[in-house]
């Protein structure tokens, strides 16, 4: 099955173009692409869960899933069309490899808390703009209070929140009892180390800084 042959990081631009038909790529997708690659290439174990809470701009996610053989390459063409399994927000009932359907902001992290309670290791990607939604903070507070060490959040900070507060994300998570690492969201080795810096008694946050 040629379509399921694993591909590399350098193939991702081609896989993005298959979806969009365009050499120029949507910023909201590009902001996540390095974090997604590091997670799927170096971090996630076979029993771990990855939740794309920030469901906007999922073409990078679909490209990574396809590169890793989780999603057939043929699915990438026709992105967003009526009969396509791929659209502007991912649907777990349609797309192989997708753990949750997302799009409305602030839902993935609370669901991830529920998964992590069972002992499952859960990685949840949120955006800095998404953190405007109050539902996230219900999850951040409680996960911190109960020391939910099986949960890791990666916050893509590209300053897209309307009232962006530089340094605010890491300070707030720290206040809620999380371990926190701020990393260059483009540097794969730095990101890998940031994920590895999780503790066994607290939930873990990686702030992946991405310049737009």
């Amino acid at each position: 099955m040629a379509t399921l042959t694993p591909l590399g990081y350098d193939d991702l631009p081609r896989l993005l173009t298959l979806q969009t038909g365009d050499e120029k790529h949507d910023w909201s997708s590009l902001s996540t692409i390095d974090v997604l690659w590091v997670l799927y290439d170096r971090v996630l174990g076979p029993d771990d869960r990855f939740l794309l809470s920030k469901g906007h701009g999922p073409t990078a996610y679909f490209a990574v899933l396809a590169a890793k053989g989780l999603l057939p390459l043929d699915d990438l063409t026709g992105f967003g069309t009526f009969d396509s399994r791929l659209g502007h927000h991912p649907d777990r009932m349609l797309v192989p490899g997708v753990e949750i359907s997302s799009g409305s902001l602030g839902h993935g992290l609370p669901i991830g808390v529920g998964m992590a309670l069972t002992g499952r290791r859960v990685y949840c990607l949120v955006g800095d703009g998404e953190l405007d939604e109050g539902s996230n903070w219900e999850a951040v507070q409680w996960a911190g209070r109960i020391g939910l060490a099986t949960l890791t959040v990666v916050a893509i900070d590209n300053g897209s929140s309307t009232y962006h507060w530089p340094g605010g994300i890491e300070r707030r998570f720290e206040l809620e009892g999380w371990s926190v690492v701020v990393a260059d969201g483009r540097d794969h080795d730095v990101l890998e180390a940031a994920f590895a810096a999780s503790t066994d008694d607290r939930p873990h946050l990686v702030v992946a800084e991405v310049r737009r």
Partner: protein, 290 residues
């Protein structure tokens, strides 16, 4: 023992026997349930409560989620829609307070809209038990599934449980049919004792038993008595009888900002859902009853 107390006892009793069962709370009920590795109290965080239940369900657990009606159904409504429905996972939502059990608390603690809201979403089974025995049977029955179930607890209770599933005909007649939902049965029986009308009982309102209603409604007139927002199931009755000329009177809690405290009985009477009020509504609708 009230329906609410029976729920706590029943849930605690089955925790050890049902390894998939998890209970998710937002403070309400936490002091009534035992400390247990599968009882999670997230504090006063109802959006999280539903999200956590969804995460547990995605991992194969069978969550029971419990709070006051408005904080279980209305405040986290988008979580109910997306985290449960759109993810295609199930949970058993168990509300307490019904429409006006919390009469003295005011509008903030009352949610007669709950059944209508959940009815608007696909895939929900909705139980409105009228007696603690019915509640316990429906709860235990729900544990085995993976579907989305709502159980609406109330402090109002009929004198005795009704046995049987679905629409149960209690009094046969070729005349009008009065369909009593959950705890409205007691007042309905009192209001219709001397009338030539059929009486049927329903504790599970979704899916709506269209076929059973068609069989039970022998005349042209149907009176629907629901203990929540009036007309919530009117469209279901219309659909069931679409090919038959019929008249429908849909009784329930009126839509409105009802700014009164006091006792539940006073609210029931004000909404004309006590025996006297139901009788007066019947007399207006059914010439033979006047």
């Amino acid at each position: 023992m009230s329906m609410r107390q029976r729920f706590y006892r029943a849930a605690a009793d089955v925790l050890d026997d049902e390894p998939r069962l998890a209970i998710v709370l937002a403070d309400i009920g936490a002091s009534q349930l035992p400390k247990h590795p599968r009882v999670f109290n997230v504090g006063i965080r109802e959006q999280l409560m539903i999200g956590v239940a969804a995460g547990l369900a995605l991992e194969g657990y069978r969550p029971i989620v419990h709070s006051y009606t408005p904080f279980l159904v209305e405040r986290p409504y988008e979580q109910v829609k997306l985290d449960l429905g759109h993810q295609d996972v199930g949970a058993i939502l168990v509300s307490t307070g019904a429409s006006y059990d919390a009469s003295s608390e005011g509008r903030t603690h009352q949610a007669p809209e709950d059944v209508g809201l959940l009815s608007a979403l696909p895939g929900w089974t909705i139980h409105v038990p009228g007696h603690p025995d019915e509640m316990e049977r429906l709860l235990v029955q729900s544990l085995a599934g993976d579907d989305r179930v709502y159980i609406r607890l109330t402090e109002e209770s009929n004198h005795a449980p009704v046995h049987g599933d679905g629409l149960v005909v209690l009094r046969e007649s070729d005349g009008p049919l009065v369909l009593a939902v959950g705890p409205t049965l007691g007042p309905v029986l009192a209001a219709t004792a001397d009338l030539d009308v059929g009486v049927a009982y329903l504790a599970t309102v979704r899916p709506f038993p269209a076929g059973a209603l068609r069989a039970a409604a022998r005349g042209t007139d149907v009176v629907l008595v629901e203990p929540y927002l009036a007309g919530t199931s009117a469209a279901e009755v219309s659909r069931a009888l679409v090919d038959r000329p019929h008249r429908l009177l849909a009784l329930g809690v009126p839509k409105g900002e009802f700014r009164h405290y006091g006792e539940p009985e006073e609210h029931r009477a004000a909404h004309m859902l006590d025996a006297d009020g139901i009788r007066r509504s019947l007399e207006g609708f059914l010439p033979a009853a006047a």
